[in-house]
Structures are given as structure tokens and as C-alpha cells.
């Protein structure tokens, strides 16, 4: 059983230092690499109501843990200026945004449209699924394999994904290992 969160739940989380116990920033948005199925980093806001954007970014490597109540980093120096950050964090390719993409199976069935990313809590940014608006209506969650192909229009998933469309995050958390085992990924 895995504990999962969507990217929307991560936005606004305080960024807290393990060694200092200080809230040094808050999460503005996730920077995501859909081909690799991984978070590459986070953009940040300053802490406090209407405090505005913070210039620094947080590369995924510098995340100590993603929790339900806080994004943990070891020290404030984990936050780096874009000039010191890896290229894909400093200048994310906006055309790789998967939100709004049609989720198509290899067989050509549409499962719905991507509305959010689902991340594994406790990790440093593994993206394990997507929240979708289901083709038949309503919200659902699908587990993520190593994707077959992704563009700005659609992403293509294995046919068995259709059997693993879950109604909530708890369901997805319970099923993601089984899904990966079926694909021989676990």
C-alpha cells in the first residue's frame, strides 16, 4: 500500500529544513519530465500570504522527502538559483506538459484526459500515475508504467491500464504495485 498525493496537493506545501526547522519557501509548482515519469524539480514561492515568487528552484535530487504536510529539504542551501540548477529544472520545456492530454491505450481506446499528476509520498518525486477525467465521465486515477509515447496531444499506455482505472488515490495506491508486476516492471 502506497501513500499518494496529486501535484495540486503538493502546491502550497511549506518547504521545511530538517536541520533548521524553518519554513524557507513554499511549493509554487511541480516541474515534470513525462518521458522519464519523474519530477525533476519544484518552482517556489516565498512563504507568507501574497509574498510572491521566489527566484530559487528546488531540484528533485535536493528533496529530502515529500510528505503530506511539508516538503522536506536538509538545508536552505538545497534551494538553488536557476543558473546553478540542472537545465531541465531551470528551463522546463513547456510543450512537454501532459495536462489535458488524451490517454490512449495501444489498442486505441481513450481512457480520458490527464488532469493531474500523482506522486508517491515519502519519495523524492516518483510520479506513479495520473488523475484523469474519464472518457465515460467522472474522475479516475491510472497507474503509470514506463510510458510508451507522449506528445503534447496524447500519451499512449498499455492495454491493461484499462483494468486499473481507480476511483480514488487509495485505490491507486493499493493497485500500483500489481499493475507494475503485470507489466514486469516491479
Amino acid at each position: 500500500m502506497k501513500l499518494l498525493m496529486t501535484a495540486s496537493q503538493i502546491r502550497g506545501l511549506p518547504v521545511v529544513t530538517v536541520r533548521g526547522g524553518e519554513d524557507v519557501a513554499e511549493v509554487r509548482d511541480v516541474i515534470y519530465d513525462p518521458e522519464a515519469g519523474r519530477l525533476v524539480g519544484l518552482s517556489l514561492n516565498q512563504r507568507g500570504f501574497l509574498a510572491g515568487r521566489r527566484h530559487e528552484v528546488l531540484p528533485a535530487d535536493a528533496i529530502h522527502a515529500i510528505g503530506q504536510d511539508a516538503m522536506m529539504v536538509l538545508e536552505e542551501s538545497s534551494l538553488v538559483t536557476p543558473a546553478d540548477a540542472p537545465e531541465d529544472v531551470a528551463h522546463p520545456a513547456t510543450e512537454r506538459n501532459v495536462l489535458g492530454d488524451d490517454v490512449l491505450t495501444e489498442g486505441g481506446t481513450s481512457l480520458g484526459k490527464v488532469t493531474d499528476l500523482v506522486l508517491l509520498v515519502g519519495s523524492s518525486g516518483e510520479v506513479v500515475g495520473y488523475q484523469i477525467d474519464k472518457a465515460g465521465g467522472g474522475q479516475g486515477y491510472i497507474p503509470l508504467p514506463a510510458q510508451l509515447a507522449v506528445s503534447g496531444d496524447a500519451l499512449v499506455v498499455p492495454n491493461i491500464t484499462e483494468e486499473f482505472v481507480e476511483d480514488d488515490l487509495v485505490g491507486l495506491g493499493a493497485t500500483v504495485d500489481e499493475f507494475r508486476a503485470r507489466l514486469g516492471l516491479a
Partner: protein, 149 residues
Amino acid sequence: MSESFRAAMGRKVVSRASAKGLGAVGHLLIDAQQRQITAVVIGRGKKARLVEWTQLSGFGPDAVMVVDEGALRPAADDRERDGVEGKLDLLGKRALSERGNELGNIDDVTFDNDTGTLEDLVIGDRRIPAGALLGSGSYAAVLDKSQEP
């Protein structure tokens, strides 16, 4: 002997040299990594002063004895200023695991009144060894991941 932060708040502070009352314990400053009380803040608010733990002749059940009132001084840096203003108080502070999950608020902290070494953090009905403390600041006290339920 084991003492508690909650019980120590408001205890009178007296000069050993002059026997004069200097005020009452307002805050206790700690070094989270060393699990140690570093200083006692006397009074509260802007006029509060602090005295380092090493300048005490005793942290007794009825009074905290300062070797000499000359040892009292104002906050010397930003961290001490935050401490004097109570922003770094462990009492009532949110406890987070290093995995970023809340564990509750710190209700009390026990310490050895001889050495100033922290013993346990009390969170609800749990007593957590102070060795689990990884860091502490104005936002949270951060505890080792082994303390997650």
C-alpha cells in the same frame, strides 16, 4: 534529576552573588543537534535578557540560580533574538517527521537539571527520546522518520 520545560516556565531566577531576584524563566533556548539547553531567557518580550547554561550554579526545583547577574546579556544574533521573542520555543511547536508528515504538537520536554541535556519530547500520550530530534526552528521541530506511527 529530571525536570520539565512546562514546570520550569515562570520559575524565579536569583543571583547567587547578590541573592537578588532577576526575574522569571520566560523561554529555554536549545541546540537541537546537541540535544542541549544552551541558555535561559529571563522575562519575556523585548526587554528579556538571557543567561547561558554554563553561567548557572543550579537549576533547582524552586529557583534557577545564576552565578552572577553580570552574566545576563541581551540577544547577540538573529537566532538569539528569535529565541528571546519565543519563536523557537519547543513547547507547543509543531512536530514534523523528516518525511514531511505532522506528528502532533510538543506538549512538554524533559531534561536533566544537572547538565541541561534534553531527555524526552512529550507529544500527546507519546514520549519520544530527544535523540530523535534532528532540528528545530521557528516553524517546526523535525524528528527522525522512525518516529512515524
